[in-house]
Amino acid sequence: MIGHTIQSIREGLLRKDFSAVEVAREALAHAERENPGTNAFLLFCSERALEAAERVDRKIAAGDDPGPLGGVPVAVKDVILTKGVRSSCGSRMLEHYIPPYSATAVERIEAAGGMIIGKTNCDEFAMGSSNENSAFGPVRNPVAPDRVPGGSSGGSAAAVAQNTAVVSLGSDTGGSIRQPASFCGVVGVTPTYGRVSRYGLVAFASSLDHIGPFARNVRDAASVLEVMAGRDALDSTSAEAPVPNYTERLDGDVRGMKLGVPVEYMKHATGETAELISRSIDQLRSLGCEVREIGMPATDYAIAAYYVICTAEASSNLARYDGVRYGFRSAGSATLSDMYRNTRGEGFGAEVKRRIMLGTYVLSHGYYDAYYLKAQKVRALITRDFTNAFQSVDAIVAPVSPFPAFRIGEKVNDPMEMYLSDIYTITGSLAGIPCMSVPCGATREGLPVGLQILCNHFHEEKMFRLADAFERLR
C-alpha cells in the first residue's frame, strides 16, 4: 500500500484489487511499526478508521460512489478536534480531553470517505517551529532522524513523509504547515484565511489560524482542500466564496504566468537553500513563466508584528484553561485563585507560558499602543505590500525557510533565534493569502527544501496550477 495516492486508492477500490478495510489495516500496521522511530503519532484510532473503511466498502458493494476521499488513510493534527477521540494539543493541560464534537474539517473529511487513522504530535497548542515543544516528546524527521521535522505540525508532515498516511491535516498560524512540509519533503498548503472553517480547531491566534492539508503531491493536497473548503455557519469568519474544482485545471500549462520574487526575501536565504530556490526560479522560467523582482518593504518588520499579534491573541484564547470546565487541574489548592494559577503554572509548557506572558505584556496598560496597535498597523502595511505586488504578478515565489531541517536541540534554548526562522512564512499568514510549500530538491546532505508559492486571496486554483506544473519537473 506504500506510496498510494488518492487516485490510486480510488482505482484500486473500484477495480476490487483491495478493500478499504485492507487499506486501513495496512496503513495502521505500517504507522504503528514506524512510530517508535519518529513519534509522529500520539494515538491511533483503529476502530474509527475501520468503521470508516467498512462504510466505504459497503458503498462500493452497493455500486455507490465511495466519495472523493473514499478509503484514504488520513492523519489529523492533535489541535483539531475529533469527537470521542482524545485531542491533547500536545499539552499536559488536555492530556485526557475527549472532545464532545468534531471539527467541521474532520466531519467533511469523514463524510467524503476519508479514514482517520490517528492523531499527530505537534508543538504544544501549535506554538513552535520545531515540534520540540510537545509535552509528549519531540518528533524526529523521517528523512534525517537527528533533525527536527519542523513545526508546529511536525507530526502531520512526518506521517505523510514516512508513508504512513496518504494525506494529513495540519494547522498554520505563522508557517506551521509550510515549514514542516519543506523540512520533510512533502506538499503543505495554507489556504486563504476563511477558506476552511476553524470550528473545532483549538484556538491559538484566531485572526491567523488556518487548517490545511499535507500530501505527497499537489493533486492530492488540492483534492483534500476541495473537500474541506467552503462556508460553515459554525465559523463566522469562514468565507461564502464558492469552492472551485481545484484539480480540474492541473494541466501543467503555466506559460505567460507572471511571477514575482521579493528581493527582501532572497537577501536572507543562505547557501544551498538560496541555490535551490534560484534553480527553481530558472526552471519556472523554462516553463514559460515571466519572472520579475518585486519589493516588499515591510518584510523586515514582519516577525516583530507577528509575534506581538499572535501572542496577544494567544494570551486571550488560552485564558480558558483554568482547571474548571475541562483539562488539567492542580491538586490541593485552597482557594479558587490559587487553583487557577497553579493549574496554569503546572499544566502549560515553557513556550506556551512565554507566549502568554508576552501577549499579556503587549496588551497591558501603557504598552498597548506601542506594541499591539502598532503591530496591527504594520500588518496592514504587509498586506498592502502583497496587494500592490498582485497588481502586477499572478504569484510570488520565495523560500519557505532560510535553512533546511536543523538538529534536535540546536535552537530550542534560544526562543528569539527560533522565531527568526519564520521570516518567510509569517508575511503570508499576516495577509491571510493562500500559500504553500512544494518540494524543490535537497541539499548535498539530502535534506529536503521547499519552494513557497503565494497567491492573492482565494486564488488557490492558480497556486495549485503553478505548483503542479513545477512538480512535474521532478
Binding site: 474548571v324 482557594t335 497553579n342 502549560f348 502568554i356 506572558m357 497591558s364 504594520v378
Partner: protein, 99 residues
Amino acid sequence: MKLTETEVRYVANLANLSLTEDEIARMVHDLGSILEHMDRLAGIDTEGVEPMSQVLYETEETATLRPDVERAPLGNQLALANAPASGSGYFKVPKVIDR
C-alpha cells in the same frame, strides 16, 4: 525594552500564571531579548495607516449572519464530561466565599 523581575511578576499575576523562581529568571532574559526585537516596530512609519485586526475581503455585508433558528445545545452531561470535578450537574471549584 528590558523587563525587570518586578514586571515579570506583575505580568504573571495578570495572566493568572504561577511561575517558579527559575522560570521568572528565564522570563526576564527571554522576554527581554524578544521585546528588544519587537522594539524595531517603532522604526516603521505607520502614519495614517488603519490597524488591521482581521483578514478582510470583498463580500456581502450580511455574509456572516446566520438565520436565527433554535439549535440543540451540548447538554449538561456532555458539557460536564471533561470537568476535573463536578457534581449535581455543576462544575465544582475550591471555596470562593467563607461563611
